[in-house]
Amino acid sequence: MGMIYNRDTFLQTIARQLGREQILSDVHRPNWNYTPQWTVFQGYSQEELLSALEAQCSRIHTDFVATTADALATTLKQVVEQYGGGPIVTWDDQRFSEYGLLPLLEAEWPSENVDVHIWDASAGRKNIEWAEKANVGITFSDMTLAESGTVVLFSDAGKGRSVSFLPRTYIAIIPKSTIVPRMTQAAAFIHKQIEIGRIVPSCINFITGPSNSADIEMNLVVGVHGPVKAAYIIVTDR
């Protein structure tokens, strides 16, 4: 349990300025007069959302590669090669095994002298060093937003934050079923989880393409602090 300092006077000042007693309970959000966020891509099929996502990828400097579950390992290998190969860092995530990627991570790449580090909570800060040296970081997407071309990542012990930030290239594997219209659906999902008492992960990332900046004369530079390149691999039959 953390500490809270100076709260009472602070909040009382606010209440006084608002001309009333402090409100401690029973505040409910009103029914908002407009809810335009729900109309974006309303009624789209998964197929239509996928093409919206593809279109958006070209605007966010992100490569879009479609594949199937069977061909995923081969595709992943090709894409990694295109970006210059290892070292590679990945999440420790059930889905790598569900999607048949472990042979690639644990046998094929190492046999070809490609360094692969799977996040290992027990190794502590070593993970960060790996990630910092890695050329490619690979994660799955937990939810994917078609409108903005965004992958949503929920952190946990095996799903380190650094995998998506520190390597030069970031690759997200996106099962088609994770695609929703926009951030609205992701936010509503998280809100529901909180309402039923689930714990929010300590870090939720909404990542949209590689890192970039327009701070120098408004010229877009892709690749500043985070990844310089990004690719989405869509698994169309999952």
Binding site: Y34, I60, T150, S202, G209, P227
Partner: protein, 480 residues
């Protein structure tokens, strides 16, 4: 007042701004690009006005229940093991942060962009306490290594610098030996900063939106620097203005959508990061310790007044990007870290009329800001309110103007006086008139005619003509 920059008078700064032709070109170009991008992004949605109405309603609801939501926020942060410090003043905030930093024996601090830490002059305090403070947002980093040049735009702080200037600063301060290409400059900054993140003891961030229901904070960047600032150092301190809060993830989402579209015309920026408490049990990255500092610093005195809408602001700078005055004088002229138009409303409220009484007048009231604001703050009306207060309560208006306005009140409220006054005007101005034009006026007319011609009052006023015209029509048998 801490948010003040420079000691020059407003008019001196304006003079400097108007003579800085690179800055003006850069600002005008940026304005046009950002405006087009924002309009495209809004148009794509098709129902932008509904979005704005929703944004406004969310912000108003939150402000009206601010004590409740801050209570909920702080409870939830504490539940997750984070510490919350409520700071009434800038000094209190700085004092607390100083204590944390000293307790952690921190030598190196990395920061991601935050207006409120600029406002409370946090960096100066930390440096005085012996810490090395490194700004990591590229624009802020450039300004910092250039001997703390102040920011001139709330979203693009180094907008007033060109790439050659940046190259020279890099050469002088960072042993840089490449060209002025933005890619090369950015790559160098990346290299320099990477190591700083990895070796920093404390990370300090601002906060775009805190989420009450979960005790989370939301950070919005394109560079990804806020992620590194919060993932790598062992201690994280987040500083937020007390109004930067929403009830739930659902409202955060709407405001983030409004923010990124309005600020840079993007559907979302590259990194939207929602952090809750310190790292979880078993996590490797993320801070071991998390402190949230909630700052009032004059904000509560705006609540409950006619200026309350200004607290709806989500710091997107859309208003800055359409402002015709900012366009020509740039951000430094305002003498505040918050530039026109939001700054012209906010600075006198947070910093007082003594320092900022000119700002509300540095506006043509063209309402471009009001039209652009994604949360519907009536900015130009609030500027008018300031003018009213300066005249009526602060008594800071020039005497001559007061007299003229008094006369105006009398004249315009009485048709007789108006008619008389307007009848003698042509004769009164006769000595200054050449060829139906006034080229050299006196009083307020002097300021006008220094720049442009002024028409001499017509010999025959409209009303005189109309009287004749009516008679004529009657003579012609028209049924008037």
């Amino acid at each position: 007042m801490a948010m003040k920059i420079g000691a020059d008078s407003f008019h001196q700064r304006v003079e400097a701004g108007l003579h800085n032709s690179f800055m003006r070109g850069a600002v005008a170009g940026a304005q046009e690009r950002l405006r087009t991008r924002r309009l495209d992004a809004a148009e794509e949605l098709g129902n932008w006005e509904e979005w704005r109405a929703l944004g406004e309603q969310i912000r108003q609801h939150t402000l009206l229940h601010l004590d409740y939501y801050l209570m909920q926020l702080s409870e939830n942060v504490a539940k997750r093991g984070g510490h919350v410090f409520f700071a009434q003043t800038a000094e209190e905030a700085n004092q607390y942060i100083r204590e944390v930093v000293i307790k952690k024996n921190a030598k190196k601090i990395v920061k991601s962009k935050s207006m409120v830490t600029e406002e409370i002059h946090l960096n100066a305090m930390l440096e005085a306490a012996g810490c090395e403070v490194i700004e990591t947002d590229l624009g802020e980093y450039i300004l910092q290594i250039d001997d703390h040049d102040p920011p001139s735009h709330i979203v693009a702080p180094a907008l007033h610098k060109n790439k050659e200037q940046i190259r020279d600063v890099f050469r002088k301060k960072l042993a840089y030996d490449k060209t002025e290409k933005p890619e090369e400059l950015a790559a160098h900054a990346r290299k320099m900063l990477r190591n700083e993140y990895l070796t920093a003891d404390v990370g300090i961030t601002g906060c775009n939106f805190a989420i009450a229901e979960s005790g989370s904070i939301t950070l919005v960047t394109n560079e990804g620097n806020a992620d590194l600032v919060t993932a790598l150092p062992k201690t994280q301190i987040t500083v937020m203005g007390m109004e930067r809060i929403v009830p739930t993830f659902e409202e955060m989402e709407v405001l983030v959508s409004l923010l990124t579209r309005s600020a840079v015309g993007q559907k979302l920026t590259s990194y939207i990061t929602v952090l809750t408490g310190p790292r979880d049990e078993g996590d490797v990255d993320g801070p071991e310790e998390f402190h949230l500092v909630i700052v009032d610093n004059g904000r509560s005195s705006i609540l409950g007044t006619e200026f309350q809408p200004v607290l709806q602001c989500i710091r997107c700078a859309a208003c800055v990007n359409v402002c015709p005055v900012y366009r020509h004088i740039g951000g430094h002229s305002y003498g505040s870290i918050y530039s026109e138009p939001i700054g012209a409303v906010l600075s006198p409220l947070l910093g007082g009329y003594d320092d900022y009484k000119e700002l509300p007048y540095a506006s043509t009231l063209c309402a471009a800001c009001t039209e652009a604001c994604p949360v519907k703050i009536p900015l130009h009306e609030l500027l008018l309110k300031h003018r009213q207060i300066i005249v009526e309560r602060e008594g800071k208006a020039p005497i001559s103007e007061k007299l003229a306005m008094k006369a105006f009140g009398l004249g315009a409220a009485s048709s007789l006086l108006y008619k008389l006054g307007s009848k003698v005007a042509p004769n009164a101005l006769q000595p200054f008139t050449t060829d139906e034009r006034i080229v050299k006026g006196i009083g307020p007319l002097k300021a006008w005619t220094e720049i442009r011609e002024f028409p001499a009052p017509a010999k025959e006023r409209f009303r005189d003509w109309f009287r004749e015209h009516r008679k004529e029509r009657e003579r012609d048998g028209n049924d008037l």
